[in-house]
Amino acid sequence: MKSRDDLTSPATSTPSSADAWATALVQRAARRSPPELAERLEEEWLADLAEQPGALARLRFALGCCWAKQVISFDPVSFGVTAQRAATGHSSIAVFAPHDNPLVSRRALLLLLVVAMHGILIYGFSNGLGHKVFQALPPEFDGIFIDEPPPPVTAPPVTRPDMAAWTSDHRNVVDYVPPDLIGPIRETQEYVPSPAYPPPDLPHEVIHRPVIRQVGGPGPGFPSTADFYPSVSRRLGESGATTLQACVDNHGRLVSDPQIKESSGSTRLDAGALALAKAGSGHYRSSTEDGLPVTSCYAFRVRFQLKE
Protein backbone atom coordinates (compact mmCIF):
# COMPACT_ATOMS: atom_id res chain seq x y z
CA MET A 1 0.00 0.00 0.00
CA LYS A 2 1.54 3.23 -1.12
CA SER A 3 1.86 6.08 1.35
CA ARG A 4 0.14 9.35 0.79
CA ASP A 5 3.24 11.14 -0.46
CA ASP A 6 4.05 8.51 -3.06
CA LEU A 7 0.68 8.59 -4.71
CA THR A 8 0.57 10.33 -8.02
CA SER A 9 -2.24 12.11 -9.75
CA PRO A 10 -4.39 9.81 -11.88
CA ALA A 11 -3.94 12.15 -14.74
CA THR A 12 -0.22 11.53 -14.97
CA SER A 13 -0.01 7.82 -14.14
CA THR A 14 -1.29 4.69 -15.72
CA PRO A 15 -2.56 2.40 -12.98
CA SER A 16 -1.75 -1.17 -13.74
CA SER A 17 -3.80 -2.91 -11.03
CA ALA A 18 -7.16 -2.67 -9.31
CA ASP A 19 -5.47 -1.43 -6.16
CA ALA A 20 -3.85 1.42 -8.00
CA TRP A 21 -7.16 2.34 -9.58
CA ALA A 22 -8.87 2.21 -6.23
CA THR A 23 -6.24 4.42 -4.63
CA ALA A 24 -6.42 6.90 -7.47
CA LEU A 25 -10.21 7.04 -7.26
CA VAL A 26 -10.16 7.63 -3.51
CA GLN A 27 -7.60 10.39 -3.82
CA ARG A 28 -9.50 12.03 -6.64
CA ALA A 29 -12.77 11.90 -4.70
CA ALA A 30 -11.23 13.28 -1.53
CA ARG A 31 -9.43 16.10 -3.27
CA ARG A 32 -12.66 17.18 -4.95
CA SER A 33 -14.49 17.33 -1.64
CA PRO A 34 -14.98 20.64 0.18
CA PRO A 35 -11.50 22.05 0.91
CA GLU A 36 -12.03 21.99 4.67
CA LEU A 37 -12.55 18.23 4.58
CA ALA A 38 -10.35 17.19 1.66
CA GLU A 39 -7.14 16.48 3.56
CA ARG A 40 -8.90 14.62 6.34
CA LEU A 41 -11.08 12.56 4.03
CA GLU A 42 -8.11 11.56 1.87
CA GLU A 43 -6.14 10.23 4.81
CA GLU A 44 -9.20 8.62 6.39
CA TRP A 45 -10.39 6.96 3.21
CA LEU A 46 -6.95 5.69 2.26
CA ALA A 47 -6.57 4.15 5.72
CA ASP A 48 -9.96 2.44 5.48
CA LEU A 49 -9.21 1.39 1.90
CA ALA A 50 -6.26 -0.60 3.18
CA GLU A 51 -8.61 -2.57 5.44
CA GLN A 52 -10.85 -3.77 2.63
CA PRO A 53 -10.54 -7.50 1.92
CA GLY A 54 -9.64 -8.07 -1.69
CA ALA A 55 -9.13 -6.02 -4.80
CA LEU A 56 -12.80 -6.04 -5.79
CA ALA A 57 -13.82 -4.82 -2.33
CA ARG A 58 -11.26 -2.05 -2.53
CA LEU A 59 -12.51 -1.00 -5.93
CA ARG A 60 -16.10 -0.99 -4.64
CA PHE A 61 -15.00 1.03 -1.63
CA ALA A 62 -13.31 3.57 -3.87
CA LEU A 63 -16.39 3.95 -6.04
CA GLY A 64 -18.46 4.45 -2.89
CA CYS A 65 -16.12 7.22 -1.81
CA CYS A 66 -16.76 8.94 -5.14
CA TRP A 67 -20.47 8.90 -4.35
CA ALA A 68 -19.82 10.08 -0.79
CA LYS A 69 -17.93 13.03 -2.22
CA GLN A 70 -20.97 13.95 -4.31
CA VAL A 71 -23.28 13.79 -1.29
CA ILE A 72 -20.95 15.82 0.90
CA SER A 73 -20.29 18.40 -1.80
CA PHE A 74 -24.01 18.85 -2.44
CA ASP A 75 -24.62 20.25 1.02
CA PRO A 76 -21.26 20.78 2.71
CA VAL A 77 -22.62 23.00 5.47
CA SER A 78 -24.71 20.17 6.88
CA PHE A 79 -21.51 18.14 7.15
CA GLY A 80 -19.61 20.88 9.03
CA VAL A 81 -17.17 19.28 11.41
CA THR A 82 -14.34 20.43 13.59
CA ALA A 83 -11.37 20.23 11.24
CA GLN A 84 -8.17 19.72 13.14
CA ARG A 85 -4.84 20.26 11.45
CA ALA A 86 -2.85 17.23 12.25
CA ALA A 87 0.67 16.01 12.29
CA THR A 88 2.37 19.32 11.50
CA GLY A 89 1.73 20.61 14.96
CA HIS A 90 -0.76 23.28 14.16
CA SER A 91 -3.10 23.61 17.02
CA SER A 92 -5.50 25.95 15.40
CA ILE A 93 -8.89 24.49 15.10
CA ALA A 94 -11.24 25.64 12.44
CA VAL A 95 -14.72 25.26 13.70
CA PHE A 96 -17.59 25.35 11.31
CA ALA A 97 -20.80 26.17 12.98
CA PRO A 98 -23.40 23.55 12.45
CA HIS A 99 -26.02 24.45 9.93
CA ASP A 100 -29.09 25.81 11.67
CA ASN A 101 -32.24 24.29 10.42
CA PRO A 102 -33.98 26.87 8.26
CA LEU A 103 -37.67 27.58 8.40
CA VAL A 104 -38.14 25.59 5.23
CA SER A 105 -35.67 22.84 4.34
CA ARG A 106 -33.95 22.67 0.98
CA ARG A 107 -35.97 19.63 0.02
CA ALA A 108 -39.23 21.36 0.86
CA LEU A 109 -38.18 24.38 -1.21
CA LEU A 110 -37.39 22.20 -4.21
CA LEU A 111 -40.71 20.41 -3.86
CA LEU A 112 -42.56 23.71 -3.68
CA LEU A 113 -40.73 24.93 -6.76
CA VAL A 114 -41.63 21.81 -8.74
CA VAL A 115 -45.27 22.01 -7.67
CA ALA A 116 -45.40 25.72 -8.56
CA MET A 117 -43.94 25.06 -12.02
CA HIS A 118 -46.46 22.34 -12.66
CA GLY A 119 -49.26 24.57 -11.47
CA ILE A 120 -48.17 27.40 -13.76
CA LEU A 121 -47.95 25.07 -16.76
CA ILE A 122 -51.33 23.51 -16.09
CA TYR A 123 -52.94 26.92 -15.64
CA GLY A 124 -51.27 28.26 -18.76
CA PHE A 125 -52.24 25.39 -21.04
CA SER A 126 -55.78 25.35 -19.76
CA ASN A 127 -56.04 29.04 -20.68
CA GLY A 128 -54.78 28.71 -24.23
CA LEU A 129 -51.07 29.05 -23.64
CA GLY A 130 -50.43 26.58 -26.46
CA HIS A 131 -52.16 28.84 -28.96
CA LYS A 132 -50.28 31.89 -27.77
CA VAL A 133 -46.97 30.08 -28.01
CA PHE A 134 -47.64 29.11 -31.62
CA GLN A 135 -48.64 32.64 -32.49
CA ALA A 136 -45.47 33.96 -30.95
CA LEU A 137 -43.27 31.47 -32.80
CA PRO A 138 -41.32 32.61 -35.86
CA PRO A 139 -42.92 31.89 -39.26
CA GLU A 140 -40.98 28.71 -39.91
CA PHE A 141 -42.80 27.07 -37.02
CA ASP A 142 -46.26 26.79 -38.47
CA GLY A 143 -48.69 25.16 -36.16
CA ILE A 144 -51.84 23.46 -37.28
CA PHE A 145 -54.72 23.47 -34.87
CA ILE A 146 -56.74 20.36 -35.19
CA ASP A 147 -60.37 20.96 -34.48
CA GLU A 148 -62.34 18.42 -32.66
CA PRO A 149 -63.71 15.77 -35.02
CA PRO A 150 -67.44 15.87 -35.73
CA PRO A 151 -69.52 13.63 -33.54
CA PRO A 152 -70.04 10.18 -35.03
CA VAL A 153 -73.27 9.59 -36.86
CA THR A 154 -75.34 7.16 -34.89
CA ALA A 155 -77.48 4.66 -36.69
CA PRO A 156 -81.22 4.99 -36.18
CA PRO A 157 -82.63 2.65 -33.55
CA VAL A 158 -83.80 -0.69 -34.80
CA THR A 159 -87.54 -1.12 -34.39
CA ARG A 160 -88.49 -4.27 -32.62
CA PRO A 161 -91.61 -6.26 -33.41
CA ASP A 162 -94.64 -5.52 -31.25
CA MET A 163 -94.55 -8.01 -28.40
CA ALA A 164 -97.88 -6.98 -26.86
CA ALA A 165 -99.87 -8.79 -29.52
CA TRP A 166 -98.86 -12.22 -28.32
CA THR A 167 -97.83 -11.88 -24.64
CA SER A 168 -100.21 -11.12 -21.85
CA ASP A 169 -97.79 -11.03 -18.94
CA HIS A 170 -95.49 -8.04 -19.01
CA ARG A 171 -93.38 -9.45 -16.24
CA ASN A 172 -92.23 -12.48 -18.08
CA VAL A 173 -91.20 -11.47 -21.51
CA VAL A 174 -90.30 -13.72 -24.36
CA ASP A 175 -87.52 -11.94 -26.17
CA TYR A 176 -87.57 -12.05 -29.91
CA VAL A 177 -84.24 -12.98 -31.41
CA PRO A 178 -84.64 -12.48 -35.13
CA PRO A 179 -81.36 -12.93 -36.89
CA ASP A 180 -80.86 -16.69 -36.92
CA LEU A 181 -82.77 -18.22 -39.74
CA ILE A 182 -81.69 -21.80 -39.68
CA GLY A 183 -82.64 -24.03 -42.49
CA PRO A 184 -82.09 -24.47 -46.14
CA ILE A 185 -81.98 -21.28 -48.16
CA ARG A 186 -83.70 -21.84 -51.45
CA GLU A 187 -82.61 -19.96 -54.48
CA THR A 188 -85.42 -18.54 -56.55
CA GLN A 189 -84.85 -20.60 -59.56
CA GLU A 190 -87.94 -22.67 -59.02
CA TYR A 191 -91.07 -21.68 -57.16
CA VAL A 192 -92.50 -24.32 -54.83
CA PRO A 193 -95.97 -23.22 -53.78
CA SER A 194 -97.30 -23.76 -50.29
CA PRO A 195 -100.49 -25.84 -50.15
CA ALA A 196 -102.31 -23.03 -48.31
CA TYR A 197 -101.86 -20.54 -51.05
CA PRO A 198 -102.61 -21.04 -54.74
CA PRO A 199 -99.64 -20.57 -57.00
CA PRO A 200 -99.63 -17.30 -58.88
CA ASP A 201 -99.20 -17.19 -62.60
CA LEU A 202 -95.55 -17.12 -63.34
CA PRO A 203 -93.77 -16.81 -66.62
CA HIS A 204 -92.19 -19.97 -67.89
CA GLU A 205 -88.71 -18.66 -67.76
CA VAL A 206 -86.87 -18.70 -64.49
CA ILE A 207 -86.75 -15.34 -62.83
CA HIS A 208 -83.69 -14.57 -60.77
CA ARG A 209 -84.57 -11.97 -58.18
CA PRO A 210 -83.81 -11.47 -54.49
CA VAL A 211 -86.09 -13.27 -52.05
CA ILE A 212 -87.73 -11.26 -49.31
CA ARG A 213 -87.53 -13.38 -46.19
CA GLN A 214 -89.04 -12.68 -42.82
CA VAL A 215 -88.25 -14.82 -39.85
CA GLY A 216 -91.13 -16.06 -37.71
CA GLY A 217 -91.50 -16.26 -33.98
CA PRO A 218 -94.05 -16.80 -31.23
CA GLY A 219 -97.43 -15.63 -32.50
CA PRO A 220 -100.84 -14.73 -31.10
CA GLY A 221 -102.05 -17.17 -28.50
CA PHE A 222 -98.57 -18.24 -27.57
CA PRO A 223 -98.63 -19.44 -23.92
CA SER A 224 -97.52 -17.11 -21.17
CA THR A 225 -94.21 -17.67 -19.45
CA ALA A 226 -95.91 -17.10 -16.10
CA ASP A 227 -97.66 -20.44 -16.52
CA PHE A 228 -94.40 -22.27 -17.10
CA TYR A 229 -92.21 -20.50 -14.50
CA PRO A 230 -90.99 -23.42 -12.31
CA SER A 231 -92.38 -23.10 -8.80
CA VAL A 232 -89.07 -24.12 -7.25
CA SER A 233 -87.31 -21.38 -9.21
CA ARG A 234 -89.91 -18.85 -8.03
CA ARG A 235 -89.30 -19.80 -4.41
CA LEU A 236 -85.53 -19.68 -4.89
CA GLY A 237 -85.77 -16.36 -6.73
CA GLU A 238 -84.10 -17.82 -9.83
CA SER A 239 -84.31 -15.80 -13.04
CA GLY A 240 -82.71 -16.11 -16.42
CA ALA A 241 -83.14 -16.39 -20.15
CA THR A 242 -82.96 -19.49 -22.33
CA THR A 243 -82.44 -19.31 -26.08
CA LEU A 244 -84.36 -22.00 -27.94
CA GLN A 245 -84.42 -23.20 -31.51
CA ALA A 246 -87.76 -24.25 -32.95
CA CYS A 247 -88.55 -25.68 -36.38
CA VAL A 248 -91.99 -24.55 -37.42
CA ASP A 249 -94.05 -25.43 -40.49
CA ASN A 250 -96.17 -23.06 -42.51
CA HIS A 251 -99.08 -23.55 -40.12
CA GLY A 252 -97.20 -22.51 -37.02
CA ARG A 253 -96.82 -26.04 -35.73
CA LEU A 254 -93.62 -27.58 -34.46
CA VAL A 255 -92.15 -30.17 -36.80
CA SER A 256 -89.61 -31.38 -34.22
CA ASP A 257 -88.86 -30.93 -30.55
CA PRO A 258 -87.43 -27.56 -29.66
CA GLN A 259 -83.73 -27.52 -28.77
CA ILE A 260 -81.82 -25.38 -26.30
CA LYS A 261 -79.29 -23.16 -28.05
CA GLU A 262 -78.07 -21.22 -25.03
CA SER A 263 -78.83 -22.23 -21.46
CA SER A 264 -79.98 -19.83 -18.78
CA GLY A 265 -77.64 -21.48 -16.35
CA SER A 266 -80.46 -23.21 -14.53
CA THR A 267 -81.74 -26.64 -15.59
CA ARG A 268 -85.11 -25.85 -14.00
CA LEU A 269 -85.54 -22.69 -16.06
CA ASP A 270 -84.35 -24.48 -19.20
CA ALA A 271 -86.91 -27.23 -18.63
CA GLY A 272 -89.61 -24.60 -18.13
CA ALA A 273 -88.60 -22.89 -21.38
CA LEU A 274 -88.71 -26.18 -23.30
CA ALA A 275 -92.14 -26.97 -21.91
CA LEU A 276 -93.34 -23.51 -22.94
CA ALA A 277 -91.95 -23.94 -26.45
CA LYS A 278 -93.66 -27.33 -26.88
CA ALA A 279 -96.93 -25.97 -25.55
CA GLY A 280 -96.79 -23.18 -28.09
CA SER A 281 -97.05 -25.53 -31.06
CA GLY A 282 -99.71 -24.22 -33.37
CA HIS A 283 -99.25 -20.67 -32.12
CA TYR A 284 -95.99 -19.84 -33.84
CA ARG A 285 -95.73 -17.39 -36.70
CA SER A 286 -94.14 -19.13 -39.65
CA SER A 287 -91.25 -17.60 -41.49
CA THR A 288 -92.20 -16.19 -44.84
CA GLU A 289 -90.50 -15.88 -48.15
CA ASP A 290 -91.96 -13.29 -50.40
CA GLY A 291 -94.90 -13.18 -48.06
CA LEU A 292 -95.60 -16.90 -48.18
CA PRO A 293 -95.22 -19.01 -45.06
CA VAL A 294 -92.52 -21.65 -45.21
CA THR A 295 -91.14 -24.30 -42.93
CA SER A 296 -88.04 -23.05 -41.20
CA CYS A 297 -86.10 -23.12 -37.97
CA TYR A 298 -85.36 -20.04 -35.95
CA ALA A 299 -84.24 -19.05 -32.51
CA PHE A 300 -86.08 -17.13 -29.83
CA ARG A 301 -85.40 -16.39 -26.19
CA VAL A 302 -87.57 -17.16 -23.20
CA ARG A 303 -86.89 -15.03 -20.12
CA PHE A 304 -88.13 -15.85 -16.65
CA GLN A 305 -87.88 -12.84 -14.39
CA LEU A 306 -89.58 -12.22 -11.10
CA LYS A 307 -91.24 -8.88 -10.55
CA GLU A 308 -89.43 -6.67 -8.00
Partner: protein, 101 residues
Protein backbone atom coordinates in the same frame (compact mmCIF):
# COMPACT_ATOMS: atom_id res chain seq x y z
CA UNK B 1 -15.85 24.00 22.02
CA UNK B 2 -18.93 21.99 22.75
CA UNK B 3 -20.89 20.76 19.85
CA UNK B 4 -24.53 21.55 19.69
CA UNK B 5 -26.65 18.45 20.12
CA UNK B 6 -28.93 18.47 17.14
CA UNK B 7 -31.59 16.16 15.89
CA UNK B 8 -30.59 13.84 13.05
CA UNK B 9 -33.13 12.56 10.58
CA UNK B 10 -33.25 8.81 10.91
CA UNK B 11 -32.89 6.45 8.01
CA UNK B 12 -32.41 2.71 7.99
CA UNK B 13 -28.73 3.19 7.21
CA UNK B 14 -28.28 5.69 10.06
CA UNK B 15 -29.86 3.20 12.43
CA UNK B 16 -27.40 0.58 11.28
CA UNK B 17 -24.49 2.91 12.00
CA UNK B 18 -25.81 3.67 15.47
CA UNK B 19 -26.41 -0.01 16.09
CA UNK B 20 -22.76 -0.70 15.25
CA UNK B 21 -21.70 1.73 17.97
CA UNK B 22 -24.25 0.40 20.45
CA UNK B 23 -22.64 -3.03 20.42
CA UNK B 24 -20.07 -1.52 22.75
CA UNK B 25 -20.70 2.19 23.31
CA UNK B 26 -17.23 2.86 24.67
CA UNK B 27 -15.46 1.39 21.63
CA UNK B 28 -13.71 3.65 19.17
CA UNK B 29 -14.41 2.47 15.65
CA UNK B 30 -12.94 3.38 12.31
CA UNK B 31 -15.07 3.80 9.25
CA UNK B 32 -14.01 0.36 8.06
CA UNK B 33 -15.11 -1.17 11.39
CA UNK B 34 -18.53 0.47 11.16
CA UNK B 35 -18.80 -0.62 7.55
CA UNK B 36 -18.19 -4.25 8.50
CA UNK B 37 -20.64 -4.21 11.42
CA UNK B 38 -23.38 -2.31 9.65
CA UNK B 39 -22.96 -3.86 6.18
CA UNK B 40 -23.01 -0.48 4.53
CA UNK B 41 -21.31 0.83 1.45
CA UNK B 42 -18.71 3.57 1.76
CA UNK B 43 -20.86 5.94 -0.28
CA UNK B 44 -23.57 5.73 2.39
CA UNK B 45 -21.40 5.42 5.45
CA UNK B 46 -19.16 8.47 5.41
CA UNK B 47 -21.88 11.09 4.90
CA UNK B 48 -23.74 9.52 7.85
CA UNK B 49 -20.62 9.58 10.05
CA UNK B 50 -19.99 13.22 9.16
CA UNK B 51 -23.62 14.16 9.84
CA UNK B 52 -23.65 12.42 13.19
CA UNK B 53 -20.38 14.07 14.10
CA UNK B 54 -21.68 17.45 12.99
CA UNK B 55 -24.81 16.90 15.11
CA UNK B 56 -22.73 16.06 18.17
CA UNK B 57 -23.73 12.41 18.42
CA UNK B 58 -20.20 11.22 17.52
CA UNK B 59 -16.76 12.55 18.11
CA UNK B 60 -13.69 11.59 16.11
CA UNK B 61 -9.94 11.75 16.43
CA UNK B 62 -6.89 10.42 14.65
CA UNK B 63 -5.45 7.14 15.79
CA UNK B 64 -2.37 7.67 17.96
CA UNK B 65 0.05 5.56 15.95
CA UNK B 66 3.03 6.22 13.78
CA UNK B 67 2.20 5.12 10.22
CA UNK B 68 5.81 4.32 9.50
CA UNK B 69 6.10 1.97 12.42
CA UNK B 70 2.79 0.17 11.86
CA UNK B 71 3.16 0.12 8.10
CA UNK B 72 -0.26 1.54 7.37
CA UNK B 73 -1.96 4.92 7.38
CA UNK B 74 -3.46 6.07 10.65
CA UNK B 75 -7.20 5.67 10.92
CA UNK B 76 -9.90 8.08 11.94
CA UNK B 77 -11.70 6.70 14.98
CA UNK B 78 -15.24 7.53 15.97
CA UNK B 79 -16.94 7.23 19.34
CA UNK B 80 -20.43 7.92 20.69
CA UNK B 81 -20.69 11.01 22.85
CA UNK B 82 -22.77 10.96 26.01
CA UNK B 83 -25.52 12.95 24.37
CA UNK B 84 -25.24 10.75 21.31
CA UNK B 85 -25.63 7.66 23.43
CA UNK B 86 -28.66 9.16 25.12
CA UNK B 87 -30.23 10.22 21.83
CA UNK B 88 -29.49 6.83 20.29
CA UNK B 89 -31.20 5.11 23.19
CA UNK B 90 -34.23 7.35 22.72
CA UNK B 91 -34.39 6.56 19.04
CA UNK B 92 -34.27 2.83 19.51
CA UNK B 93 -36.75 3.01 22.37
CA UNK B 94 -39.14 4.85 20.07
CA UNK B 95 -38.83 2.19 17.41
CA UNK B 96 -39.28 -0.55 19.97
CA UNK B 97 -42.53 0.99 21.19
CA UNK B 98 -43.79 1.35 17.64
CA UNK B 99 -45.85 4.13 16.14
CA UNK B 100 -49.22 4.81 17.70
CA UNK B 101 -52.02 5.07 15.20
Amino acid sequence: MGRQDRHVRMSLQTLRVLEAFLENPTDQLSGADVQKRGHLSSGTLYPILLRLESAGWLVSRWEQVDPASVGRPRRRLYRLTSSGLRRTGEVFATFSRGVTA
